[in-house]
Amino acid sequence: MAFIRHNLVRIVNAISLLNTNFWRWFHQLASPPHVFALAGRVCPWFAGLAIIFLVAGTYGGLVLAPADYLQGDGFRIIYVHVPSAYLGMLAYMVMASSAAIGFIWRMKMAHGLAVSAAPLGAWFTVLALVTGGIWGKPMWGTYWQWADARLMSELMLLFLFLGYMVLRASFDDRDKADRISAILAVVGVINIPIIHYSVEWWSTLHQGPTIAKLDEPSITMDMLMPLLIMIIGFTAFFGWLLCKRLQGEILKRERQTRWVDGLIKGRTA
């Protein structure tokens, strides 16, 4: 009994320590100079990762991976289509969740992150739509199907990104823009599960999940590896751009403060 009590106390202590550490860390995330520096520090890592993985993945996808038994070499567009489709959704989730955090805890930096993610997400979504369309013409026999739930929901994702950006642009007051557009971003999250599960919920033209499912992937290892590498590469690329944009956004927001002044003077000196 005493043993259990002793251990319980230790666990509780550990948790509370973790908890205080977490909150300290969380509050640091509210401080612009800190976030600016943090973004600056992780940026090169993302850049390096992105370059290595994108090169390796491209080589793997174009050269090492065998042609598909059915689609031949045409299937290789998968190495762009799938990562960009994932990244579009990931970017939306990053945008919506940081906007929500910003709204609830009034954290300006979180809003900054959301703003930075939006155009990136839009571009990835465009890429997914375009590569999908290009792929669809030879494979399905059409670029586009209005009645297909996957395609429609992906298009709506693009509209959500655009709507978010347009809404922001129509406010002159940044604070208000942050908080109001956060609501739109959060409401739009409902689209994400729809995109993902659309192929299961409705019988559509778009194929079902190949890798993103509980079963074993329905793709052989030699084709899968480059795909995974590309996905990691795309993600790192996204992280890289996100850090860069976040830094820019912070400078824009904090341009009147002393630390930015100091930063600029330090650079020019």
Binding site: D68, Q71, W201, S203, T210, I219, T220
Partner: protein, 145 residues
């Protein structure tokens, strides 16, 4: 009623609402929401007879035959419970082949055949090199004689 109770009631209502809606949505996915009809449904007379609809299934092995001297093509779409003969005139997508998924849009003629205006190929979720596909076909062939 105190403000606190009021608040709890409101939260309760919201939670109930979300639960009910999730339940209804799951219920809806039990019903099939059709992008296309399967041959079995067509055979059972569930498909409309007087207008265009989409027919989806697999192209039956050895069923494709071209009419000589024209672009017209006849083949059979099956879901392994029922089969529907389809005829189509026009260009085909690359993926159109025997044993592959296909979605055809068109109308039923009065002999129970299907006249397609448009053929779309539907790819499944499997990707593999040709060797693997052959091996797989072999093993499946041996399992289901």
């Amino acid at each position: 009623m105190t403000a606190r109770q009021n608040r709890m009631i409101l939260i309760g209502l919201v939670v109930t609402g979300v639960t009910v809606s999730a339940f209804l949505a799951l219920q809806a996915f039990e019903e099939n929401l059709l992008f296309f009809f399967s041959p079995a449904q067509v055979a059972a007379g569930e498909a409309p007879t007087d207008r265009t609809f989409r027919l989806g299934g697999m192209v039956l092995e050895d069923s494709i035959n071209r009419e000589i001297g024209s672009l017209t093509l006849n083949f059979i779409v099956t879901d392994y419970t029922a089969s529907i003969p389809v005829s189509y005139t026009g260009v085909l997508p690359d993926l159109f082949a025997e044993n592959q998924g296909v979605v055809a849009r068109g109308t039923l003629d009065n002999q129970g055949g299907f006249i397609a205006e448009e053929i779309l190929a539907k790819h499944d979720e499997n990707y593999m090199p040709p060797e693997v596909a052959e091996a797989l076909a072999l093993s499946e062939g041996s399992q289901t004689p």
